[in-house]
Amino acid sequence: MSIGENMYLGNERGKKAAIDWNTTYAEADKYLKMVGLSESSKVLVKEIGTGKQQLVEIAKALAKHAKLLILDEPTSSLNEEDSRALLDLMLGFKKQGMTMIIITHKLNEVSYVADKITVVRDGSTIETIDNAGHDIDEDRIIKGMVGRELTNRFPKREGVKIGAVNLEVEHWTVRHPLYPERLVVNDVSINVRKGEVVGIYGLMGAGRTELAMSIFGQSYGILAGGTLKIDGKEVHLKKSPTDAIRHKIAYVTEDRKGNGLILSQSIKVNTSLANLDSLASHMVIDKDREYQVAEEYRDKLKTKTPSVEQLVGNLSGGNQQKVLLAKWMFAEPDVLILDEPTRGIDVGAKYEIYCIINDLAAAGKSVIMISSELPEVLAMSDRIYIMNASRMVGEMKASEATQENIMATILRSGRGD
């Protein structure tokens, strides 16, 4: 449906049964402008990016003349720039007298926008902190969230020897699956070594996920060119994830509920899914071993659950992410592509995920970490690639990288379109 139709769904403009489409679209356009969108309200929602969809959602709330606006992780799918715009929008609404509640995992956002901060952990209120001056220390919030002082948000990785190049992609070019004239990945070359963590930073829509999924057995888009080398030998992966898995590549999706996990199945079933063959002889699953494997990864990743028979849908985001990681670790890949591995999970679980990443590198795996969080990329990576508008616009050693020069690289490359 179009933006306008979505905004006025259940709140249609017009008399009696007939919808007045002119009023609908005119009013919709007005609210869209208010949230800073230039799109026409006749555009279909599925044709705009997730960031803009989020703004449409907010425009929809405005169109209903809401007095109280509750935003649940409004920026989880937005890049830093869009997030900032949205937060500023909230501050604007506040001046107009609107009451807002924002639920988020991002600490800089709460301290920027909120007047009062309530920390909720394990289903109960821990504390409410006053933040009228917008100057609260993030560590103060973290203390409330984890129940102790977290001295370092990123665990150190030490003494890991970086080996030979494991995966090398050159001149990789991918077309959009529906609009083949659009290049979503344009002539990108990357490589990753054994024991190395390579970060790929870029704004939302820069083509990072598309690149990753395309490498993973062309799970996205149409491959228009490029070569893929594993251990120096050129490999032609068939157009299926199966072949990628066989070549020891794993892709841990950013969309764990949509593309990653089967929520209606147990932790055990999810853990074994990508490598079920190794547990089966003549198609018959060794269920006892399957259970042991699930238990082993539960211990290793410190997944909090009463039992591995628990349905994944009942777990928290952080624990779901651990199950997803367990699934791909059990597939025994050499190269792991982690797409936003810490999106939407709390600080404590994030720390544990970082530890897992470090362990993977220490075990000689090659890790590619895609992330929109600059501090995370800076702290976790050995080397950082920067993508913008479908192109690779920069590469730097972590030791040389700073927030400033990464953002400068993106800005200097231009918006591309």
């Binding site: 929520l263 209606s264 899914l273 198609m283 018959v284």
Partner: protein, 388 residues
């Protein structure tokens, strides 16, 4: 304790419903429904439902997809079988051809569904029309009788189609009783072995008492049914086939990788594909297999009826679908068990039979079945809501 009892009831709603329905009918028919002959008839008459529901479960697991062509395919394979037997071909040949035809039909439909992405509802609706028509064509619109005695005996549920009593009991079919006891012994041994293995590995059960109660009830039920049957003429041959199909498919869905993939695809198709599973092949297999079982159900139905007519098999697909949903399969896919469809099929069979014995007209029977189906799905939906 209270919660574990509640959980037990919730998990076994349909078993409890089945027990209540049986009690209701045994009171209202003055115990007639529990007569050995009626239990025997219940099994013989509903053989096709069990077989078809096993196949339908796999389709439904892949995402609530159903196969509407089943009834027509049953009729089509019946027609082919009848013609082959009339031409004096051996039973084995007739059986294999019927299964092969069913499989081919299933593969044909599965191809469109899996690789061309034709919605299953439409692809099988087309099959439903096409094979009903083709049944008419091959039978020329007439009824074709089957005189091959051994075919009727092996697959039939008719007058004399029973497993012979090797032990020559007097008044009681000892073979039947022995089979019942053997089944219970195997069941209990498997259960104990499972318990031991789990104990050794330190797997705590959610509901240990419930598991024991369940095993005891199932054992008692098997003994009771075989006792009743041995008072009549023993094991109807169709029961052997039903048991075989259910055991095979129970094993496939529970213990094999391909069985697991049916659940995975229904739970989250995208995630399953990205885990390296060929999801298209899974859809294809579901429908190909459904065709195969439709061919087998055709065999059983042909033997029971003794002849093929172009109108046979109408509504069979709905019986199979209803058995699955009553038996707890989710209309969204990913959830459902072979034991569940057994309960579902049995529940519908008991209701049919009970009402027939009470002398209620067939029209009302259909209405009651409809209500039972709605209530069953309602229970499923409401219990899900509570959880959410």
């Amino acid at each position: 304790m209270k919660t574990s009892v509640g959980g037990f009831i919730k998990k076994n709603t349909m078993v409890i419903a089945l027990v209540l329905v049986v009690i209701f009918f045994s009171v209202s028919t003055g115990g007639k429904i529990l007569l050995p002959q009626n239990i025997n008839n219940l099994i013989s008459q509903n053989g096709y439902v069990f077989v078809l529901a096993a196949g339908m479960l796999l389709c439904i697991l892949t995402g609530g997809n159903i196969d509407l062509s089943v009834g027509s395919v049953v009729c089509f394979t019946m027609g082919i079988g009848a013609l082959l037997l009339k031409a004096n071909l051996p039973v084995v040949v007739a059986l294999l051809v019927m299964l092969a035809v069913g499989l081919c039909v299933g593969m044909f439909q599965g191809f469109w569904i899996a690789w061309i992405s034709v919605p299953p509802f439409i692809a099988t609706l087309a099959g439903m029309y096409a094979f009903r028509g083709l049944s008419n064509v091959i039978l020329g619109g007439y009824s074709v009788g089957v005189n091959n005695e051994s075919f009727l005996k092996i697959f039939g549920g008719g007058a004399d189609c029973y497993v012979p009593d090797f032990l020559h009991g007097e008044g009681l079919n000892l073979t039947c009783m022995a089979v019942g006891i053997a089944a219970v012994v195997i069941l209990v041994l498997l259960f104990l072995r499972g318990q031991l293995v789990r104990k050794k590995m330190g797997i705590a059960s959610d509901n240990p008492i419930g598991e024991w109660v369940k095993t005891i009830i199932i054992s008692a039920l098997i003994l009771w049914i075989t006792y009743k049957l041995s008072q009549y003429k023993g094991i109807p041959s169709v029961l052997v086939w039903i048991a075989l199909v259910l055991l095979i498919y129970g094993y496939i869905t529970k213990n094999t990788a391909i069985g697991r993939y049916f659940y995975a695809v229904g739970g989250n198709e995208k995630a399953t594909r990205l885990s390296g599973v060929n999801t298209k092949l899974v859809y294809f297999l579901a429908y190909a297999n459904m065709g195969l079982l439709a061919g087998f159900a055709g065999t059983l139905t042909l033997a029971r009826a003794g002849h093929a007519e172009p109108t046979y098999g109408v509504g069979y697909e709905m019986d199979a679908i209803a058995a699955c949903f009553i038996g707890g399969a989710s209309a969204y896919g990913g959830v459902g068990k072979i034991t569940g469809i057994m309960i579902g099929a049995a529940l519908m069979g008991v209701i049919n039979q009970g009402m027939s014995i009470m002398g209620i007209s067939a029209n009302y029977q259909s209405a009651v079945k409809g209500i039972v189906l709605l209530v069953a799905v309602l229970v499923d939906v409401l219990s899900k809501k509570e959880n959410a």
